[in-house]
């Protein structure tokens, strides 16, 4: 008798496994809502809808900070000299190599080099870097000393990446949509 029950699965074994499997599914089914509820809710996602930004008031050599999805976004109007300086550094051993051309977007096939749009949170631990400062006259993060250049590329300090670029597109030569 004992041998038979060991060698051949019987109805009890099947019920045991089936109950266990159903129990595991039930536990997962209850755990998922408990975990998922912490993700961004519908109102938070809705409040993070795309925004349009008029670039006309931003004079050359100036920058603005706007708030989108609770985070600062820097929009910087670079001068010809700044663009030149940034391009010159394209091959000078950057920690996160990206040529200046990749840091800007185009409108109707023409690169809008004067406009740099980046998230205003340091890629180290999220502090807001200070504009027009640091060793490269880009941004300097006061928290842990990361230096960025005017294209938002990390040049020195603990930050692992260049400043992130939000998803954005030019609607006209002086208007962008972020998101």
């Amino acid at each position: 008798m004992a041998d038979q029950s060991m060698s051949e699965p019987n109805r009890r074994d099947f019920l045991f496994l089936a109950t266990g499997a159903a129990g595991a599914v039930a536990v997962g089914g209850v755990a998922w809502p408990l975990i998922s509820q912490m993700s961004p809710d519908a109102s938070t996602i809705a409040a993070g809808a795309p925004v349009e930004v008029d670039l006309a008031p931003i004079a050359e050599g100036r920058a603005i900070t706007l708030k989108w999805r609770g985070k600062p976004i820097f929009v910087r109007h670079r001068t010809a000299a700044e663009i030149e300086a940034s391009k010159k550094d394209d091959k000078s051993g950057l920690p996160d190599p990206q040529p200046d051309a990749v840091r800007v977007r185009a409108f109707e096939g023409k690169a809008q080099e004067q406009w740099v749009v980046v998230y205003g949170n340091c890629t180290h631990l999220g502090c807001v870097p200070i504009g027009f400062s640091g060793d490269y006259n880009g941004w300097y993060c006061p928290c842990h000393g990361s230096h960025y250049d005017n294209a938002g590329r990390i040049r020195k300090g603990p930050a692992p990446r260049n400043l992130d670029i939000p998803e954005f597109a030019f609607l006209s030569a002086s208007k962008i949509r972020i998101g």
Binding site: P40, T44, H124, L125, G126, C127, V128, C143, G145, P160
Partner: protein
């Protein structure tokens, strides 16, 4: 160590009736009255009791504060000011709670260093020690989330920096951070969940404290000599009155120290920037955590790589849990280990210096020769971090093998009264006086 037998004798009929159904009076009697305590404990052994007092104090003042606090980004800062200005004794409750957190950490650091010096983590107290590390971790999480609630500048940016630590995790880091925030940045959902968890965690600490005390009472207390109890009559005294009175006296002294901060310098340990409401668009020029996190913050900043820094910081705490196996010495108490003493005090000084580096700007010059910077704060912190880990990974494993310890006393009684048979023991009254 053997479990001691219950000496509880129910006196009244009701006590006998209750004892047969729920032996709770017996439990209290056995663990807080007749429980045998090594007779040579010094005042460093009173911090467990002080910590329990601090936990209760934090829970009581916290529950009261919640009656007046509003966990919403638009009202949190105002509601804290409302507590300070309008609520009867609100200032007292808040200052007790805020300074109480610091007192809690002062006591826990003394408690931890005591355990490390006297080898309290060694067999058979490994589980007791690990439960202590768990309590310490829960305390840190609780303190961090509590500091976010007033929604000042340091609250907001502290929360941003610490939650961003998780973005260092490869591949899933960013997803985890958005999940932790409940949004695209630290915002109202973050404040709400931190409030919920800040209320929950102290009760979890309470639960682990019960396990910690259970483990302690199962294996028995360590003592300054590190020698096991051999003779209960000679080596121990009953918990009441000896330990209860001593603990109460130490607690009163600690409360005076606590009150000095609450009434005379309530903002000394805080940061002025936290009286500025949170602004997601402006980071304070110099952002620092509360003092009790500074050594870990110093380690985080010492490593120039983001993931490496985060790993080193968490490792500096997690390594405590492995202490019972990293220390290879058979001798428990540091009192009898000449080289261990040097390593231990170096470790204490290095921990404090790491805290100092964490409080200073990273580019501050530490050592300059002829106007040239030889070492800045980061370089200094790197050396200290190496020594910090060296204590655990090099000094403790090696010292146990090469060090020649001093002679241990034959028993706990001998360690206080001199070698047995000298005649002193007769007058010392080791056995509890009968009432």
């Amino acid at each position: 160590m053997a479990e001691h037998h219950s000496s509880y004798v129910p006196k009244t009929g009701f006590e006998r009736w209750l004892d047969a159904r729920l032996p709770i009076v017996r439990l209290v009697h056995d663990s807080a009255v007749s429980y045998p305590v090594p007779r040579n404990l010094n005042y460093f052994w009173t911090f467990g009791g002080i910590l329990m007092f601090m936990l209760v104090s934090q829970i009581v003042t916290g529950i009261v504060l919640v009656m007046h606090y509003t966990p919403h980004v638009d009202y949190a800062f105002q509601s804290v000011e409302h507590i300070m200005r309008d609520v009867n004794y609100g200032w007292l409750m808040r200052y007790m709670h805020a300074n109480g957190a610091s007192m809690f950490f002062i006591a826990v650091y003394i408690h931890i260093f005591r355990g490390m010096y006297y080898g309290s983590y060694k067999a058979p107290r490994e589980v007791l020690w690990i439960l202590g590390v768990v309590i310490f971790l829960l305390m840190m999480a609780t303190a961090f989330m509590g500091y976010v609630l007033p929604w000042g500048q340091m609250s907001f940016w502290g929360a941003t920096v610490i939650t961003n630590l998780f973005s260092a995790i490869p591949v899933v880091g960013e997803t985890i951070v958005v999940w932790l925030w409940g949004g695209y940045s630290v915002d109202n959902p973050t404040l709400n969940r931190f409030f919920s968890l800040h209320y929950l965690l102290p009760f979890m600490i309470f639960g682990v404290v019960i396990l910690h005390v259970w483990a302690l009472h199962h294996v028995g207390q360590n003592n300054p000599s590190g020698v096991d109890v051999k003779n209960y009559q000679k080596d121990t005294v009953p918990f009441t009155p000896f330990a209860t009175v001593k603990d109460l006296f130490a607690m009163v002294c600690f409360m005076i120290f606590f009150a000095w901060f609450v009434f005379y310098m309530p903002n000394f340990l805080g940061h002025a920037d936290n009286y500025i409401p949170a602004d997601p668009l402006k980071t304070p020029a110099h952002i620092v955590p509360e003092w009790y996190f500074l050594p870990y913050y110093g380690i985080l900043r010492a490593i120039p790589d983001k993931l490496g820094g985060v790993v080193a910081m968490f490792a500096s705490i997690a390594i405590l849990a492995f202490l019972p196996w990293l220390d290879t010495s058979k001798v428990r108490s540091g009192k009898y280990r000449p080289w261990f003493k040097v390593a231990f005090w170096t470790f204490v000084v290095v921990s404090v210096l790491l805290g100092y580096t964490g409080s200073q700007p990273t580019d501050k010059v530490v050592l300059a020769i002829g106007g040239r910077t030889v070492m800045d704060m980061v370089g200094f912190a790197q050396i200290l971090t190496a020594i910090y880990f060296g204590y655990f990974l090099i000094a403790l494993p090696l010292l146990g093998l090469i060090e020649k310890p001093k002679a241990l006393p034959a028993s706990i009684a001998d360690s206080v009264l001199g070698p047995a048979g000298s005649g002193h023991i007769v007058g010392a009254h080791a056995a509890p006086p009968k009432h």
